[in-house]
Subunit: 149 residues, 2 copies
DNA sequence: ATTCATGCAAAATGTTTGCAGCTGT
DNA sequence: ACAGCTGCAAACATTTTGCATGAAT
């Protein structure tokens, strides 16, 4: 018997706690979302992928389902300034990564730095603020765009 | 004779360098933008304020002018996830501040931490990335919303 | 049975664009 | 005179909503 992923369990628990319903669509969207190669899917991209498997799904279902994932802590909502909202699966190892965004080619890469996280938490404490999520984004030129400048 | 602010000078220089034109609207928007109490104006808010002084101004002029400010380095474009783009005047002392955003009441407060900036730069260097701008945003509950939970 | 979810299309939102007339250089 | 700017309305893109039907509890 295949064990459920931790994420799927989180979703099912949230659904039953809130008296929502498990549906085929939610499962398909879940699978596509968590198997998406590369993080930061836009809703449109995910919709296109899901549509290939389940062709009569509607746009709104994808929107609503991503909000649901966000509400149950499975996804972060991100916005890198190109007008489209992106969603990123939350990792369960408690890791958090941040982003380098190239303003020339649009490439988004990730990094992780404990010290930045550490000081962020400290700032929050000093401000009597309870941090739920944090973002660190560095905008600039990636190495390949720098070379071709 | 009243001296021009450094910001106004930057704008005028940019305008002449790019062969653009100085207009009444740009001046009014400039004044309102830099005298806005609180940072992070949305375009709509700024439009409303400008309209009070110069009632036949159009929406698009405000949009276009804020982009102009961004292009000449007078403003940062920000997006805190509520669907509206906000603009923030760039300070001339070279300071950079970051944000605490309350997900309950929406309050945005600012902080500044040199260590976070320092490590951000270091990460960039390791990734052969040239940073132009960076964002650190902590999302969570502010002290008053924590109290009333 | 009841309540929630879906898909569709319509509406709402925020932003951009085309263009005729106007303004600054 | 020329090139750029404005205001307006229309276009656009993304996201939300209303509603009749269908599915899960």
């Amino acid at each position: 018997m295949k064990p459920k992923s931790k994420g799927k369990k989180t979703l099912k628990e949230y659904i039953s706690k809130e008296r929502l319903k498990s549906t085929k669509q939610r499962d398909v969207i879940f699978d596509e979302f968590f198997s998406y190669p590369g993080h930061h899917v836009t809703t449109e991209e995910l919709y296109e992928r899901v549509k290939k498997r389940s062709s009569k799904i509607g746009h709104s279902t994808v929107y609503r389902t991503l909000k649901l994932f966000k509400d149950c802590g499975l996804a972060f909502e991100r916005n890198f300034g190109d007008g489209r909202t992106r969603y990123e699966p939350v990792k369960f190892e408690g890791e958090h990564h941040d982003h380098l965004i190239c303003i020339e080619c649009g490439k988004i890469s990730e990094f992780k730095d404990r010290r930045i996280e550490h000081y962020s938490k400290e700032v929050a404490r000093l401000n009597d603020f309870e941090v739920i999520n944090h973002k660190v984004e560095l905008y600039g030129y990636c190495s390949s765009c720098r070379k071709s400048k």
